[in-house]
Amino acid sequence: MKLAVKNQRTKKKFHLRIPSQTEYLEIIREFVSRVARKVGFKEDDASKIELAVDEACTNVIEHAYGGDGKKMIDIAIQVDYPGQKMSIIITDQGRGFDPSKLRAPDMKKYLQEMRVGGLGVYLMQSLMDEINFEVKPGPKNQVKLVKYLMNNQRQK
């Protein structure tokens, strides 16, 4: 996924590429939450976006690249002004997975069984307004996370 250089008046784009290592999660979070606040999200929503992006990047580091820190994580942010939304697309070229098998865990069952892991996707779904997984030829795996600016009243 390449971002075009030219920008329309109604869009803002940001793009970060950073090594696939947990030590940089801190930098990714700081970057994403600062952009979110700059484009108008309140502290509260910015911290939800920050956590959702952390979860997606942690999955890339651990599952897509299996800890290979020489690989890169690609984070593209687009802010659409008339639609008032922020979309974050996290792309990897790693192992891949079947997104159709990804679904929210049954939290009640989860808690009864006291399993470890499997919380990331559930959190992303709870924190964001939209989440979409896509496996593209390349191979490229993408998670798209969307948050609307105007729904600070909504419950999620």
Partner: protein
């Protein structure tokens, strides 16, 4: 330097871990190591004080999930205190308050351990 610190204070049978900074996939192993050390010393009554923690991701939550069975199997518990609203929200989103005892402060958590005796 790592952005995460654990300070341990023993109080009789109970061990308090005061955690500070951020608890993510990078720092979770630091907390894991500290809790493992407690279990190695047969200390199963654990309080984790979140007062100075300013961030947690699912990797951080996973640490507690990883130990809770063993701890409870040994008549101990992991009780959590002093969560900021931001941190509490993450626990709450996942329904963790039904699984973990969350207290306002260390004093309350210590008392609740003592009442159990």
């Amino acid at each position: 330097m790592n952005g995460f610190e654990v300070m341990r204070v023993d109080n009789g049978e109970v061990s308090v871990l005061r955690i500070k900074g951020f608890l993510d996939a990078h720092t979770a192993s630091d907390l894991e190591r500290e809790i493992q050390r407690l279990l190695d010393q047969k200390r199963f009554k654990i309080v984790v004080n979140f007062r100075e923690l300013n961030y947690i991701s699912s990797a951080g939550l996973g640490v507690f999930m990883g130990f809770i069975e063993e701890v409870r199997g040994n008549k101990g518990d992991i009780k959590l205190t002093n969560m900021t609203p931001k941190i509490f929200r993450v626990f709450d989103l996942l329904g963790f308050p039904t699984l973990y005892e969350i207290r306002d402060d260390e004093q309350q958590a210590l008392q609740s351990f003592n009442n159990q005796k």
